[in-house]
Symmetry: D2
Subunit: 270 residues, 4 copies
């Protein structure tokens, strides 16, 4: 009745998670500002996604590829997602251009167990709103001010290797109120030079998918080149890797398969 | 700077909640099975929604009206929602026929603070899935078996007036796993004659809207005529009434309005 | 079987909560610094607790009395607690002098449904640690710096009447990491002039007791004379009032009282 | 500033967690019924703890030792705890005999990051109550009835290798209401032959310690010899192993170490 190798229920098989393989990451990028604005291109001449992936690939246990809005199916085919352990999402000006069918596909894969890192302006992406169920609104100011990221739990795997805080010299400000459901864990809170605060790192679980929102990453600053930012993303990928996968359905349990013997009563519309 | 009467922020005014008025409930019904199946009509000759509303209107502090799928805008116009404190939702075979624009409107109103009671097969409604962010799947069997509803917290306002459990002689079975995010509070768990269990009463908050899922209510049984079921719905309406309302937006905070004086730096794509 | 007046289970009666009466608050004060330090006495010549109670008594729907460490049973007799809807707790240098038996009594009453507001240095009180189960540690600095309290949810009943933030000109700094379990709701986050942030207002539920931690209130500053602070405390008292009361026990359910007929099997150590 | 090897903050060093070593488990047993009651001894002639440890030691990646109430310091010395990744706790009739100082020591180690599995009647242990902050009460009946353990999330690492449910032919009944704070995740719910239900597997986090409560394990039945029970315990040990360790304190941050330059103001009682 028990098997560690083949996990099987009377509903559906559950794929086995191999914990000793490299973590397969797909870095998704909206990939628009980089080509329309020199202010962005000078920091990320190959596109922001390329540098986010490069930072992750510094780690021996991670292999990161990229996908962008402009590719067929936004680069997020069934096959790509089936071979992705953790997806990172950066978008800003083109959230509405993301196909609803692809959003539904990504959501289904997160519920099954794929990790999801939502970056900066991705707070307003369809996929983040669809998984959290709230507005994900915030206040904002683009003035290149100092952001100080405070660690709320120095023992959390996402903060491993960090001091009690780190600073980003120039960033966009995001301020409270942040329209999210209460996070499972608060990992970072930001102090901004202009006087605001923000819940800059937070986790949720939806289905078996672990979700981490990480605030920094405005396109006109070299944020993804900062050592601490790269470290947090590597830590977060490790934290978000699937621990179990489950494809849920809504199965009927016929009377003859009920654990206790029962005699059907009443009427039915079926 | 302070006013209890007119609550005002630099973002937007917040409507004042009057706690001494009657609670205004809109009971939404899919309203299909009642006319296509004698098995349903015999229990609910005027439609299920009519009897759910009637049960609520037994209370002095509640005034309940109804709305159905077939009405223009499904009966859920901007005006109706603006005058609804708590919405109840029963649907089964026609979830897909509910207009996405109306779902978005209901969701926005829940986030603002309107309470939502999701009933029985409403677990698969667009609005419940959109607010919770998960599949809301479960297992099921239609055999008219005994359901025993256990109270998980006898001090919870939704269970006021109940004994430690109550029984429903004939109900459809819903079983675990139930594809939901962890509830804020577990209010009921069901024991089924056929051997299953289910998280039959649970709460969540999204934005300022309080959400309660209540499992019983299959269309071929007279569930909404049962005293304890009617009591739970009345209690839940009282629990879910808005305690505060907030229409969130995503406002820019210009540099000159920053709480601390800052000098803008860096570039912008705006 | 149902009664709204007398709520009764086969375990124990549950007292009825009368929502139209005034909320009975007991303001507990350690009451030491006020007499040993002129820096404290000049702001609170009758003791801090007296002014906290006075601020609450400005409201028509609240009646606040005080209790202090020095009274018999610290002023928290069984009778006092039985007639308290919401208890507020301020302590600093004498946490260890609070009798464990009184802590256990207060804890039992919170689990039953009494609200609890824990103020400032009360983060290290026995009662807060006993209810949260964690260290409740933080970092701190006493330099009279500016604290800006940001509202995380403008629709929360505790923030009613506030703007998006308010400022306290001189306060002690408390900084992250704050050793707490994830709050049910984040209500305030503080920005400090010296560069730190803190989860300054947060809620939890333990049993049926609602708990609110509110950071400001260092003894050498006139914090409890500030309008916004007084408003938050009034709001929090209303939010924390009991919605239901339940005295739990660990009752045996004898075989003959099992809902389903069973025949005892196996052996027993009883 | 960054180091993956030596994790260091200006507060304190954080020990590095080595994920490729065997998980070190200490199985704690009250160890009384086994010697006083033949009904227990016949199932567990070497003591219940010996068989729980033996089941865990079947796994290649776990090394389990035992500790009992009767040993000096209950077998839970500073050294033993410092070398324990996950502690399991079974107690029943002698909760009150556990030294408060040892409870405080175990609690501190859990907050630091050690995992804790609380078994069956351990629901009323001092350590469980101290970490959860609630009564942990329940209803109960000792009649050797059938318990059916339903899996609430087939993708959870604790349920790996299980079917949708498993049965224990004879067990003590525990029923709702269960006096716990809302779990982080609901893993199992039990159906009992006598008609009750119970939240039989649930998780919480306190500090960095992961806590799992697992209901089965009454001393007069051979529960810990059942394959599925042994599998759940192995899975739970893997799930509960530390992901990060942090020894928190309550450090002062002197004015000259504030991230932003400030000038001290106001008075002090220090």
């Amino acid at each position: 009745m028990l098997s560690e190798e083949l996990i099987h229920s009377h509903h559906q098989p559950r794929p086995f998670v191999k914990m000793n393989q490299k973590i397969r990451v797909t870095v998704w990028g909206e990939n628009i500002h980089e080509w329309s604005h020199e202010a962005v291109r000078k920091h990320y001449p190959q596109g922001m996604h390329a540098y986010i992936a490069q930072g992750l690939n510094e780690a021996d246990d991670i292999v990161a590829n990229t996908a962008t809005l402009q590719e067929p199916e936004h680069g997020l085919t069934e096959e790509v997602l089936a071979n992705t352990d953790v997806l990172t999402w950066w978008g800003h000006c083109a959230h509405a251009q993301v196909d609803d069918a692809i959003v539904a596909r990504v959501k289904a894969r997160v519920l099954q167990g794929m990790g999801l890192l939502v970056l900066h302006s991705g707070h307003y992406s369809k996929i983040f709103q669809a998984l959290l169920g709230t507005s994900c609104s915030l206040t904002w100011r683009e003035a290149g001010e100092l952001e100080r990221m405070w660690v709320c739990n120095p023992g959390h795997p996402i903060t491993r290797g960090l001091d009690t805080y780190f600073e980003i010299p120039e960033e966009e400000m995001y301020g409270e109120p942040f329209g999210i459901p209460t996070p499972d864990e608060q990992v970072f809170i930001s102090w901004f030079q202009g006087g605001e605060v923000f819940r800059s790192g937070a986790t949720w679980k939806r289905g078996n998918g672990k979700i981490f929102y990480f605030r920094p990453g405005h396109e006109t600053y070299p944020t993804y080149h900062i050592d601490e930012v790269k470290l947090v993303l590597k830590n977060a990928v490790r934290w978000a890797r699937p621990e179990g996968l489950w494809v849920d359905t809504c199965p009927n349990v016929p009377v003859e398969k009920a654990p206790e013997k029962i005699v059907p009563r009443g009427e039915s519309v079926h």
